[in-house]
């Protein structure tokens, strides 16, 4: 049994060896010329403005989450629609319950003002 | 039903106390006292109704409790437990009377704690199912912990936590051993799962199993006794406990350990008992002498009495592990006597402490001049504790030494010295406290002689001390069948005669 893993072990060894060897070779060959300009972020030739770790307003997240919920709903709706003939009335009722549950959440979010863009 | 009634009567008392107003202190006290006196009368009735010549357990009650595990609610008494039961009910109401005036703080909780304590102690002595025994054994722990912790002296919290942890660790190891016994018995007795003492003894356990179980039982019982070197919690607990707590602690809690050895270790694990016999005798001899020597140098009156307990309880262990009738009967009687005498000594210390709030031996002196009646009572108890013939202490110690000489004259001779030392420290203590002249003059006004209620609780003790001393047969007659049964169990299993 363990012999089956020899290949994987070799692969790991070769992978690590190759990476290490490349870095070592580069460190030996390349010219060393530290320069502050090298550390600046480069974006389309325009100098960067402000901090990249900016905060986004909370309402973006709320919208993103609501989107996610209804996006996922479709994931369930598609296979259901494809198999609709076989599932019949029971399938229809199940899907209505499913959608109703989602609607309750939607209603709650609405009432709580999650959809208002203040 | 009688035993259940005796054990659970304190619970009725708790139920009566609960709706009462905490301000109404005298009603609380009187109710507790009446309940405890009733319990004491019931136990006296039990003593009278007890058939002294019959062997085995009497007044048995046996109903399923944790049926799915084969555990039962099984109560019963033999001569050993009936004496200790009586001692418990007696000292309980005496303890309440002794702090009639001293405890003014949270009287209601105090009374409830004592009632629960009594319930636990009574249960320990009558339980014949090991699991039930363990439950009662642990119930005792909590009220005592609260009594020392709430109504104790300045270092009460240290003392009470030390007391709790020492005893709790010991008991938990015992619990593991009890459960091991449960399965070992099931394995040896065709899968019969029980912890009934009457059935556990019918099986012969291999020595390799007996040894660890004995050690676990030892952890629980030797801490309670307390056997040197596990005694260190005792002086702390005694010094900090209120008088009533000390009385119960010395009078009954210490007996739980001796009772445990007698009821479980020796009969159920006979070979381990023989195996560890020399070790136990050695430890007991050390305890006897060590307790006496340490008593000799105490400056605190109560600590002196506490260390004398270590010495006296050493005699009990000595008597148990010599495994002959004289030793065992002496040990049991010594337990009974120690309950009466040390209880009484603590009461006497408490009486003076209640008046002057001082226990330094160097501060006191000449009390006999101010409290003559008290001095007379105290002298009898002191002499009884010394082992003066004609008083209780003598009989027990004499029998124990008789038994010890039959087994090991070395242990006998060494233990003998403790009696001489006891005469030394107790007489010296009496002289320092009672005679010469009062070292702290302004105490004189406080030293009022005994009050009526104090006489009321000292008198029965006095009567019993003299009764046991003059005519011990009344009490020894209870013990013959129980002791011969224990000895039969201890020697039958391995086919071993007493060494």
């Amino acid at each position: 049994m363990p012999t089956n893993y020899i290949g994987i072990g070799l692969f790991i060894l070769v992978g690590m060896g190759f990476t290490g060897a490349t870095f070592a070779a580069a460190a030996l060959i390349r010219p060393s010329n530290p320069n502050p300009i090298k550390l600046e972020p480069y974006e389309c030739g325009v100098p960067g403005v402000g901090d990249a770790r900016d905060r986004f307003h909370i309402r973006y997240y709320v919208l993103a989450m609501l989107y996610l919920v209804f996006d996922l709903e479709v994931v369930f709706l598609y296979p259901w629609a494809v198999q609709y003939d076989k599932l019949g009335l029971f399938g229809l009722m199940e899907m209505l319950v499913f959608v109703a549950i989602l609607l309750i959440g939607y209603f709650y979010a609405w009432k709580k003002g999650a959809l208002d863009w203040v | 039903m009688l035993l259940s009634l005796i054990v659970f009567l304190p619970l009725v008392g708790v139920a009566l106390l609960l709706p009462m107003r905490p301000e109404n202190k005298s009603l609380l006290r009187v109710t507790t006292l009446v309940v405890m006196l009733a319990d004491c009368l019931l136990s006296i009735y039990l003593l009278l109704a007890f058939n002294q010549s019959a062997s085995g357990y009497q007044f048995e009650e046996n109903i399923p409790w944790l049926g799915s595990l084969g555990l039962r609610y099984h109560l019963g008494v033999d001569g050993l437990s009936v004496l200790l039961l009586f001692l418990t009910t007696l000292l309980s109401w005496i303890a309440i009377l002794s702090t009639w005036r001293a405890v003014q703080l949270r009287v209601k909780e105090y009374m409830i704690a004592f009632l629960l304590l009594e319930l636990g102690m009574l249960g320990v002595f009558v339980a014949l199912d090991l699991f039930l025994f363990y439950v009662f054994w642990e119930i005792v722990l909590v009220p005592m912990y609260v009594i020392i912790g709430v109504w104790g002296g300045p270092r009460k919290i240290y003392a009470t936590i030390k007391f709790f942890l020492f005893t709790f660790i010991g008991s938990l190891l015992m619990l593991v051993a009890i459960l091991a016994l449960y399965f070992e018995h099931a394995g040896l007795a065709n899968g019969v799962r029980t912890l009934d003492v009457t059935q556990l003894g019918n099986v012969h356990y291999p020595l390799a199993f007996q040894i660890p179980v004995f050690l676990a039982f030892f952890a629980a019982f030797a801490v309670k006794v307390p056997l040197w070197p596990l005694h260190t919690w005792l002086p702390d607990a005694h010094v900090e406990a209120p008088t009533a707590g000390s009385v119960i602690l010395a009078g009954i809690l210490l007996k739980l350990g001796g009772y445990g050895f007698l009821r479980f270790s020796v009969p159920l694990l006979p070979e381990a008992t023989h195996y560890f016999g020399p070790l136990m005798l050695t430890l007991a001899t050390i305890a006897v002498v060590y307790g006496a020597l340490v008593s000799l140098v105490q400056k605190d009156w109560k600590k002196l009495v506490a260390y004398s307990s270590v010495s006296h309880m050493g005699f009990v262990i000595l008597g148990i592990f010599v495994l002959n009738p004289q030793g065992l009967e002496g040990a049991i009687l010594e337990m009974f006597n120690h309950g009466l005498l040390t209880g009484a000594l603590f009461l006497c210390v408490g009486i003076v402490y209640e008046r002057v709030h001082d226990r330094e031996l160097a501060h006191l002196g000449g009390i006999a001049r101010y409290m003559p009646v008290y001095a007379a009572f105290f002298m009898v108890f002191m002499l009884g504790s010394v082992g003066l013939p004609g008083l209780a202490g003598f009989v027990g110690e004499f029998l124990v030494l008789l038994g010890t000489f039959g087994v090991s004259s070395l242990a006998g001779w060494i233990s003998m010295t403790a009696i001489i030392l006891a005469a030394g420290y107790l007489l010296w203590m009496y002289a320092r406290v009672m005679f010469v002249k009062l070292n702290t003059e302004h105490y004189a006004a406080e030293l009022v002689d005994l009050r009526a209620h104090e006489v009321a609780y000292l008198l029965p003790l006095l009567a019993l001390v003299i009764w046991v001393g003059v005519y011990p047969d009344t009490w020894l007659n209870f013990l013959h069948p129980a002791v011969s049964h224990i000895i039969a169990q201890a020697s039958a299993a391995g086919g071993l005669a007493a060494r």
């Binding site: 049994m1 549950i101 309750i104 959440g105 209603f107 709650y108 009432k111 709580k112 | 409790w65 944790l66 049926g67 799915s68 595990l69 949270r106 909780e109 699991f131 363990y134 439950v135 009662f136 642990e138 119930i139 722990l141 909590v142 912990y145 609260v146 912790g149 709430v150 009460k156 919290i157 009470t160 936590i161 709790f164 942890l165 709790f168 660790i169 938990l172 190891l173 619990l175 593991v176 459960l179 091991a180 449960y182 399965f183 799962r193 660890p212």
Partner: protein, 479 residues
């Protein structure tokens, strides 16, 4: 009709959410009654199913047997007690009623399905439903930094744990090619046990669930999360999800992997000893009652795990097997822990913090009945007879001794003694110390009735343990 209790709880959760959105602010305290009613009805339906033959639903994803009924009883009792303890605390702190109850219902729903799951997929989804609701519960006091911290820490480590858990499940699926627990058992029975993959699977699953039930060394999130969360949420977290995770542990390790009889008992025994020892030692040093109870809850996870270590697969019908001991202990643990947390919530309700030991000074005089109840819970957690905690521990020790692990029993006994030190500290502070300040305690019939129920349960489940032992034993007959 196998899932009727679950359906009731689902409807309840939806209804609470809807009403919370619709009702005006001052009417919302009425939601307490609705939540109580819902859980009681679900509980009644649940108990009605006791003893009926095992059923399954959703294409074999979910089963309904005595095991489910037992755990559902546990979960619904937890929910009812939490609903009773919450209103005073929530009102004092101006926390939202509707969200609390509805999140609670969703979490309970997740717990119920966790215990009922007979398939890896439904098991994982249920666990996630439960924990996501609890993450939010922990952060419900959103203006309080500690609550944010609690929620975030719980979430990050919880997500991490879920990932490991689902990874372990995927290995299990990889080995057997099945997700149904019974079918996995069937395949495993036939395969060789020295499969290193199986070992890896066991390790991953143990780590994943270990995080959820807070076993050492996967416990680091617990004290912070428990301390920061609103106290009723903490109470719920320390009981509900833990019990559910143990149910999952039983489903995976006993139902699915049991027949293969892998020797994992030493692994769990070592984890158990590590957990209880470390938690107990650290708990001694705590000065915050909530943190102390958090460590105590970790320690109790260790005790409970002893049941699993002692469990011998296939011995389920034996009266002293580890599994009924584990389940009985969970039952007992629920009441005493919820009771202790309820008192923390109760003492806290009137104050800004109310979490340090000093806030309990002289509680024995300020609130005698509360102090007695707290004493009862502390003693029961210590394992002093005749209280329920003692019988739980004794039963676990019984199982450990029975499975030949006397050292484990001794370790548990010694640990109980260590724990006595810090539990008794609470009693010492309540009765043996004095205070001059008199902070008025909040009055709420809800919390008083909750404390009454929890105290009575702690007492009577102890003295009359037999029916409850039989309940736990009956629940494991399916294994």
């Amino acid at each position: 009709m196998a899932v009727l209790p679950e359906v009731v709880v689902t409807v309840l959760a939806m209804l609470l959410l809807l009403l919370d959105a619709v009702l005006p602010e001052h009417r919302k305290s009425g939601l307490t009654w609705l939540a109580l009613l819902g859980f009681v009805v679900a509980g009644a339906f649940n108990l009605y199913q006791w003893g009926s033959p095992a059923q399954s639903a959703y294409g074999g994803m979910v089963g309904a047997d005595n095991f489910t009924v037992f755990f559902n009883t546990l979960f619904l009792a937890t929910a009812i007690l939490v609903v009773l303890m919450a209103p005073a605390y929530l009102r004092e702190r101006a926390l939202p009623f509707g969200e609390f109850y509805s999140l609670l219902s969703f979490a309970v729903l997740g717990m119920m399905f966790t215990a009922a799951s007979t398939d890896l997929i439904s098991l994982f989804v249920s666990i996630e439903l439960m924990v996501i609701a609890v993450y939010i519960l922990a952060g419900l006091a959103r203006r309080e930094k500690r609550s944010n911290e609690a929620s975030l820490k719980y979430f990050l480590l919880g997500a991490f744990a879920s990932a490991i858990l689902v990874y372990g499940m995927s290995w299990l699926y990889g080995i057997t090619g099945q997700t149904n627990l019974a079918k996995i058992a069937g395949v495993l029975k036939a395969t060789s046990l020295d499969n290193p993959l199986l070992l890896m699977t066991i390790a991953l699953l143990a780590v994943g669930v270990g995080f959820k039930v807070a076993l050492v060394p996967f416990h680091a999130w617990t004290p912070d999360a428990y301390e920061g969360a609103p106290t009723p949420a903490t109470a719920f977290m320390s009981v509900g999800p833990k019990a559910a995770a143990f149910a999952a542990l039983l489903r995976i390790f006993i139902s699915a992997m049991g027949p293969a009889q892998p020797d994992y008992s030493l692994l769990f025994a070592i984890l158990a000893v590590l957990t209880m020892t470390l938690a107990n030692v650290v708990a001694i040093q705590q000065n915050n009652i909530k943190r102390m109870l958090a460590y105590s809850s970790i320690a109790h996870s260790g005790y409970i795990l002893v049941g699993l270590a002692a469990a011998q697969p296939g011995a389920g019908s034996d009266q002293v097997a580890g599994i009924p001991a584990l389940m009985f202990y969970l039952f007992v643990y629920t009441f005493m822990t919820l009771g202790a947390f309820a008192i923390v919530a109760y003492v806290q309700a009137g104050q800004v913090t109310g979490e340090s030991f000093d806030d309990y000074r002289a509680l024995g005089r300020r609130a005698p009945m509360t102090a007695i109840a707290m004493t009862l819970f502390m003693l029961s957690l210590t394992g002093v007879p005749p209280l329920a905690g003692f019988f739980g521990k004794a039963y676990l020790i019984l199982a450990a001794v029975h499975s030949g692990m006397a050292w484990l029993a001794v370790a548990m006994a010694v640990n109980s003694a260590i724990s006595a030190y810090y539990y008794l500290r609470v009693v010492v502070v309540m009765y043996m110390s004095d205070t001059t300040e008199r902070v008025p305690l909040y009055r709420s019939p809800f919390i008083h009735s909750m404390l009454a129920v929890a105290s009575l349960a702690t007492f009577f489940v102890g003295v009359f343990a037999d029916p409850f032992l039989r309940f736990a034993q009956g629940a494991t007959l399916g294994f």
